[in-house]
Structures are given as C-alpha cells and as structure tokens.
C-alpha cells in the first residue's frame, strides 16, 4: 500500500493528465456525427501511430552494436510509420469526398 501512495504522490500530474484526457476524449468524440464514423476510425488509427515516438527513442538510445534492439526498433518504426502516413493519407482521401455539394 505504501508503494501505491508513493507512486500516486510522485506521479500526480500524470494522473491528472490521464483523467482529464479520458474525459476530454469522450466529450470531443461523442460529438462526431455518424456520417464521419469511418474517417474518425481511420484518423484515430493514424493518431495511435504515435507509438512511433517510442520506437525513435528506443533506437536513439541503443548502442550501435546492439543489433537486436536496433532491428526491433526498425520494425516498430516501419509499422508505426505505415500507421501514421497511411492513416492520415487515407482519412484525407475520404474526407475530400465529404465536401459539400451543391
């Protein structure tokens, strides 16, 4: 229990961020109309590609002869990048079609 209190006290700002983001996320996303649910999913998908940041940090901190970590990192970067670039590009393609007509 002592450990938990310590963790809580030390990471208070992070816990605030966590809770507020959850509330904010639900508020913002519940306003997205049904028409745009597919672009919402693919756009959200692109945002989940933010894990690529972790992959970049992993590679940058690896020693140059640690080929295991480097390879894993490169795989993660490729996967994350497909997610980010593909996700935003395909969402843009869809949303372009939703322009107001007439």
């Amino acid at each position: 229990m002592e450990q938990f209190f310590e963790f809580f006290n030390e990471n208070l700002i992070l816990i605030y961020l966590l809770i507020f983001t959850i509330v904010l996320g639900f508020e913002v996303i519940s306003k997205v109309p049904t028409v745009l649910h597919t672009p919402l999913m693919s756009g959200a998908n692109a945002i989940s590609g933010v894990v690529i940041i972790g992959a970049i940090l992993l590679i940058r901190q690896a020693t140059p002869d640690d080929y295991l970590t480097l390879s894993l990192g490169v795989i993660a970067i490729i996967l994350g990048m497909i997610n980010v670039v593909g996700g935003f590009a395909v969402t843009d393609r869809m949303l372009e079609m939703f322009k107001k007509k007439k």
């Binding site: 450990q3 745009l36 894990v51 972790g54 690896a62 490169v74 997610n83 593909g86 869809m94």
Partner: protein
C-alpha cells in the same frame, strides 16, 4: 534550456493538435482540416523526438530514417490504392500494425531490462506486460478481422468446438502468467506470455461473425489506443499517453454505439451469440412465395413516385454498386422524385461504412438519413429500394420474440407504400436469419447482382 523548451513545446503542440483535430471532425465541412491539423501535429512531434538532446545517445539516425522511409512509402501507396469498399479491411490492418508496434516496443524494453541494460520500476514492468497483452490482442485480432473481411478465411474454419470455453481458459492462463511475470523476471516466460497474448487475440476474434464486424473493429481500435497509451507510460511520454487515450476513447464510444444499434451487450457479441443461435427463430412456411418484379415495372414505379428511400447494405459494397446507385438517384431527381438514403448504424462492416461509399459516389451527405430520421420519413415514402441490406430491415426484430435479432432497432421499411428488394437469390443474410420481409405483401424482389440491376434500372428509366 531553450532547446528543451522547444522540444516540450512541440509535444504540447502535438497533443493540442490531436484534440483539436478530433474536435474539427464534428462537422463534415471542417473535418478535412481537422485531419490535416492532427497530421501536422504528429509531424512536429516526430521531428522533435528525432532532434531532442539525449544523454549518451548513439542516435543511429540511419536506422531511423531507413525505417521511416520504408514505412512511409508502404503507407502512402496502400492509402492511395485502396478502394472505398475495402475500407474496413484497410482500417483493420493499419490498426493491427499499431498494436504490433506497441508489442515490439514493450518486448524490446523488457528484454533490455532483463539483460540489465536499463532500469525499470515494478510499475513500469507491469505496464510493459499490459502493453504486450493488449497490443498483442489488437495485432492478431485485427489480422484475423482483415482476413475475414477479405474473404480469406471463413468463420467455421477458425472456430473450434466449445470455442468460448477454450477462449476463457486461454485468457485465464495468459493473465495468470502475466501476474507471475509481474513478480518474477524471466525473458523466456515473457516471450511465452507474448505468444499467448497473440494466440488469444486470434482466438477471441475467431467466433465473431461478419455482421458483428463493426463492433469488433471498434473494440480492436480501442485496444490499439490503450496499448499506445500504455507504451507512453513506459517512456514517460505525455504525447503518446494523450494520443493513445484519445484513440481508446474513440474506439470505446464506437463499440458502445454499435452494440446499442444491435441492442446487444458487448459480452453477447464477443461470445458470438448471433451466428450461433441463427437456426432459432420462426421458420417460414415452405409454401410462401416471394413476388418478383421485372426491371421495366420497377423503373416505372420509381419514375412516377414522389419519394424514394434507398436502403444500402453490405451488398452494395460487395457489388461496388455505389456509383450506379447515384446514377439512378440523379435520373429520378431529374424527374422531381425526392430521393433519400436510410443508413442503419451497423449497415456494412464498420461504423460509417455506407456513408463513405455514398460520399465517394458524390451523394451529398444531407441526403443521408439516420435510423430515427429514416423511420419517421418512411411512413410517407412511396417506394423503398433495399440494396444489399438484410438484417437491418428484418421485421422479426419487431414482432418475433424467438428471433435472434429480436429487439434490435431496424429500419421499418414496411411503413412505406411499396418495397423493392434487390437481391441475388433468396438465401438468408450473413447472420443466417430468415427475413419475412421478402414475403411481405408490400414487397417485390428484383433478383440479380445489385450493380447489374441498378444499371438496367438506370437505362430503363432513361427510356421513359
């Protein structure tokens, strides 16, 4: 000092752009700007991560740039090439890759920790294990969803007898191992844990049928978000945390909406109740005969009506009939017929699937009615044209308590004056449930491929 201020500011900009970008998605007019906004925020954050000062870092930029180039090109090409009808597959596979990325990261961090290369607190180990688990499910689950949507595998080929019990055992074993690993360090067992999570992801999607795909895809989307957020906690990176949670929230909301649209609980969807009890429900009398209509009569009926509502379903996507559908719409509109579209929330294989197809065919979105609007409008509609939809227009949901879909909100197409169902044959829909609508006194069947029938209708209307 000034430099790390710029880095922190970049992350703040990134987090803000995600929230604001999603906010702009609240209207079709601003949505495109929102997506671009979020994309730019992501770009800023990636650049900041590349240049931020790290103590004793070897950087290995060649590896990073190489990986980014490969991933970027693959992503761009697939985004350009994919057809709008295949959007559910595309979203699934991208989603799976995000999960896989989180799994690789968590495994790499754990490996370094077990090898004594870096320090990790007990909390961080727990979070890494959580990332492995949830990211693993998102990865293989999405891959199987993709394969099912592409028609590469059939539900029956990947479902074992007593599948739900096997799933339950697998889940308990995996979680138990997870708890053990939380308290004891072992690289081998961590790999086993990862493997079990991957198997569980596959096994958990296996029994879920095609009509339930919108729920599964939404749920997997939220899992990927959670795994990204968890990975953010490992790296102490606020932006990853914010981005991941937003995606998790989006996936969760969509999952709830899809479940509500079918009037079923998530648990019920996950144990695959829909397909399983399909044999139940009122069986139709063998001597009931569905009336059919020929192209000519259907064309006349549509042409001289005042209002028409088109109900699209997965069949529209399969037949790639969205553009011909719009052609018929235009021809009717030219004669003063009021044409609208009724979109059921679970029509198609992912949330909003039909809306995207119709947008591709240049149908203005104000013509698309949601479930409630459509049911109000159907009462004063002359002709309803059902194109490749089945379960969402099934009257059993209203009046047959024995039917597996009883209680699901449906489009009450029988309130309109006449109904024309475009269908290839009398076979029941994906869920395997009989549809008494086909035998309804107001209904006539127009047999044939949806695209084919619609183009024949279009040329017939032109001659009138």
């Amino acid at each position: 000092m000034g430099f790390s201020f710029i880095i922190n500011l970049s992350y703040l900009v990134g987090a803000f752009s995600f929230v604001w970008g999603l906010r702009l998605l609240s209207s079709p007019d601003s949505a495109r700007r929102g997506n671009i906004f979020a994309g730019i925020g992501m770009g800023v954050a990636i650049v900041a991560t590349m240049i931020m000062p790290l103590v004793d870092a070897a950087n290995n930029y060649a590896w990073i740039l190489g990986g980014m180039a490969i991933g970027g090109i693959i992503g761009l090409i697939s985004a350009r090439r994919v057809q709008m009808t295949s959007m559910p597959q595309m979203v699934s596979i991208f989603n799976g890759l995000g999960g896989a990325c989180a799994v690789v990261l968590a495994m790499a961090e754990l490996n370094n920790y077990y090898a004594g290369i870096n320090e990790m607190s007990l909390g961080a180990v727990g979070i890494a294990l959580f990332t492995l688990f949830i990211g693993g499910i998102a990865f293989t689950g999405s891959l199987l969803a993709f394969a099912k949507l592409e028609g590469l595998v059939w539900d029956s080929t990947v479902t074992l007898p007593k599948h739900n019990i096997i799933n339950m055992i697998l889940l308990v074993v995996t979680l138990t191992l997870g708890i053990y690993l939380f308290l004891n360090d072992s690289l081998t067992l961590a790999l086993v844990f990862m493997a079990l999570s991957l198997v569980y992801g596959f096994s958990f999607v296996a029994p879920i049928g095609g009509a339930d795909m919108p729920v599964v895809i939404s749920l997997l989307n939220s899992f990927t978000g959670l795994s990204a957020a968890a990975a953010g906690l490992i790296y102490g990176n606020n932006l990853m945390l914010v981005g991941g949670i937003l995606v998790g929230a989006s996936g969760t909301i969509l999952t709830v909406l899809m479940c509500n649209a079918m009037n079923r609980s998530l648990f019920n969807v996950l144990i695959g109740g829909f397909g399983g009890s399909a044999a139940a429900g009122k069986s139709l009398d063998g001597d009931q005969v569905a009336k059919s209509v020929n192209i000519n009569d259907a064309a006349i009926q549509l042409f001289y009506s005042q209002s028409v509502i088109i109900v699209p379903g997965y069949g529209l996507a399969v037949a790639q009939a969205q553009k011909v559908c719009k052609e018929v719409d235009d021809l009717l509109e030219a004669n003063g017929v009021d044409v609208k579209y009724a979109i059921h929330p679970v029509a198609g294989r992912m949330p909003g699937h039909m809306n995207v197809l119709l947008a591709e065919a240049d149908v203005p979105y104000p013509k698309l009615l949601d479930l409630e609007e459509a049911n109000a409008a159907l009462k004063s509609t002359d002709v309803v044209v059902v194109v490749g939809a089945n379960d969402v227009v099934n009257p059993s949901a209203e009046d047959d308590p024995a039917s597996p879909i009883y209680g699901m909100p449906v489009l009450k197409v029988w309130d309109a004056k006449t109904i024309i169902v475009l269908k290839r044959s009398m076979r029941p829909g994906y869920a395997g449930i009989q549809n008494p609508l086909f035998f309804h006194e107001k209904n006539k069947m127009l047999f044939g491929d949806a695209k084919d029938s619609l183009s024949k209708l279009a040329s017939e209307i032109k001659t009138l």
